[in-house]
């Protein structure tokens, strides 16, 4: 009796564990089945490399959005990564205990702030400020700054745990060889935590490229190839969220195809990261 029960529960747990695999399959099937036909109808090169998005005339080129998504993610990295890593170094190696007890929970709490709140903040503070400073409120640059701020908590917490996981002896060894505190941290500990830090950066890129509602509020949303950082643009995510509400027919399918491109882009980033990590470990 107990044996049957044991075997049964084992099977139940295994079943529950396979749910996540099932979900991935379902998501792939539904997205691809609905998106690929549209892509072939529009023509894959026209869809991916076309620079005009005019659903009214059945012209669907998402190249401007792909470009904008890459731009804002790269911009967010340039702003968020150095700041986040240095902040994590401070938390791990420079911070007095008393300050740590305040700072650490603060970064943890901020990782939970909803993106709509970040977007709102950017809309009422960042956009007017950018308009005064650069003459353009809603722009690629505004989106970069917003995303740079949004990925900070992630970068800080993952980098900090990577720094703390690096062997303490590296730091002590460097000190014993006559290096200063700063040199030991930056020349010995930081390189040792390389793979953890690259994980932090990857998580940041994933979050930045997938962010939707907050970006939609500040990026301007014009579906054109952006000429400069101070012009408005439209990312892949905002393209979907803006038009899905009223799209029909081929237009709707083109939006689903946009999601397919976004999905594949995210998968590629994850894949390249795990390859990079494996090579690093070998």
């Amino acid at each position: 009796m107990t044996k049957i029960k044991e075997a049964m529960m084992r099977a139940v747990f295994a079943l529950l564990a396979s749910v996540s695999a099932l979900c991935v399959v379902l998501i792939c099937v539904f997205l691809f089945a609905n998106g690929i036909p549209a892509m072939t109808k529009i023509g894959v090169p026209d869809f991916l490399l076309g620079t005009t998005w005019r659903p009214g005339n059945d012209i669907y080129g998402i190249f401007p959005m792909i470009l904008a998504s890459i731009y804002v993610s790269a911009g967010a990295m340039i702003i968020g990564v150095p700041l986040g890593i240095l902040c994590a170094v401070y938390l791990a190696y420079f911070c007095p205990k008393k300050v740590y007890r305040v700072l650490k929970p603060m970064t943890e709490l901020l990782s939970g702030v909803p993106s709509i709140v970040y977007g709102f903040f950017a809309l009422v503070v960042l956009v007017p400020a950018m308009r005064v400073l650069f003459g353009a409120g809603k722009s690629l640059l505004t989106a970069c700054i917003l995303l740079g701020i949004m990925i900070l908590p992630t970068i800080i917490s993952v980098t900090e745990s990577a720094l703390l996981a690096a062997p303490k002896t590296y730091y002590e060894g460097a000190l014993a060889l006559g290096a200063s505190h700063e040199q030991s941290v930056f020349r010995a500990v930081l390189p040792a935590a390389k793979s953890g830090i690259s994980a932090a950066i990857m998580l940041g890129i994933g979050r930045a490229i997938g962010e939707t509602t907050a970006v939609a509020m500040v990026v301007g949303n014009q579906p054109v190839v952006p000429g400069s950082l101070l012009q408005g643009a439209r990312t892949l995510t905002t393209n979907i969220v803006l038009e899905m509400g009223y799209a029909a027919g081929l237009h709707r399918e083109a939006l689903i195809a946009t999601a397919v491109v976004l999905f594949v882009l995210v998968l590629l980033i994850n894949l390249s990261f795990s390859l990079f990590k494996r090579r690093d470990q070998a």
């Binding site: 139940v12 150095p82 943890e108 990782s111 939970g112 909803p114 700063e182 962010e211």
Partner: protein, 280 residues
Amino acid sequence: MKQKKRNDFSSAALRVAVKTSALVCVAIFLFIVGYILFMGIPHLNRDLFAWQYTSQNLSMMPAIINTLIMTVLTLLMAAPVGIGAAIYLVEYARAQSLLVRIIRTTTQTLSGIPSIVYGLFGYLLFNVKFGWSYSILGGAMTLAIMVLPLIIRTTEEALLAVPESYRQGSFGLGAGKLRTTMQVVLPSAASGVLSGVILAIGRVVGETAALLYTAGTVSGLPENLLSSGRTLAVHMHALLSEGLYMPQAYATAVVLLVVVLLINALSSFAAKKMTKGKNV
């Protein structure tokens, strides 16, 4: 001697850079939270919490209730599946078996998918395939898939933190695998599991993009689980996209921010309790 001086200089520069960055981060964080609280709290009033939503009062009460319903529904689906999956991965499966590798890869994949893609998937599955209109249930199922990786990962970590001796002791007393897992291991991991579940609540409360085209944006209370209803975050999105309701948007931002900060504080409190228990 010259070399030494240069080292001193670079060390000092690094020190300044590190401290400045930390200061900048703190300033940004404090400014965001402070600004929203400072600007938003004066806009809170009783009308915003009226039971009935009208286009006059723009009450957020129905949205708050919808958020509660959405959270409970999502957890009812995601928590058992996520915890069960983690139990299988940690307690039952062999570490390098094919199934485990597949599950780990897919869980990782799930956690990287942008929320708008989840939203679109939910729309395609529930609205198009199943023929439901915008519904709370569809939204909750979409969110359940979205928070699943989070629950699996935190539960896994909590289970791994339970000392091996607990299991051995339980086996030694004659308990089977199932009993050991359910009555010894899981209770000692409880606060870690809880912290993951609370984090998941935080994500449900804050989510917008995945809900816009699954649960929809109807402003009142839903008649049943298959009718549309907007959560607080979606409510705020709607207020902002109409562009006319800034005071109400400020007030909603305050409520949303406070709720989410409380939820996250609760989660790290639970997590801390677990690490304390482990040392004893």
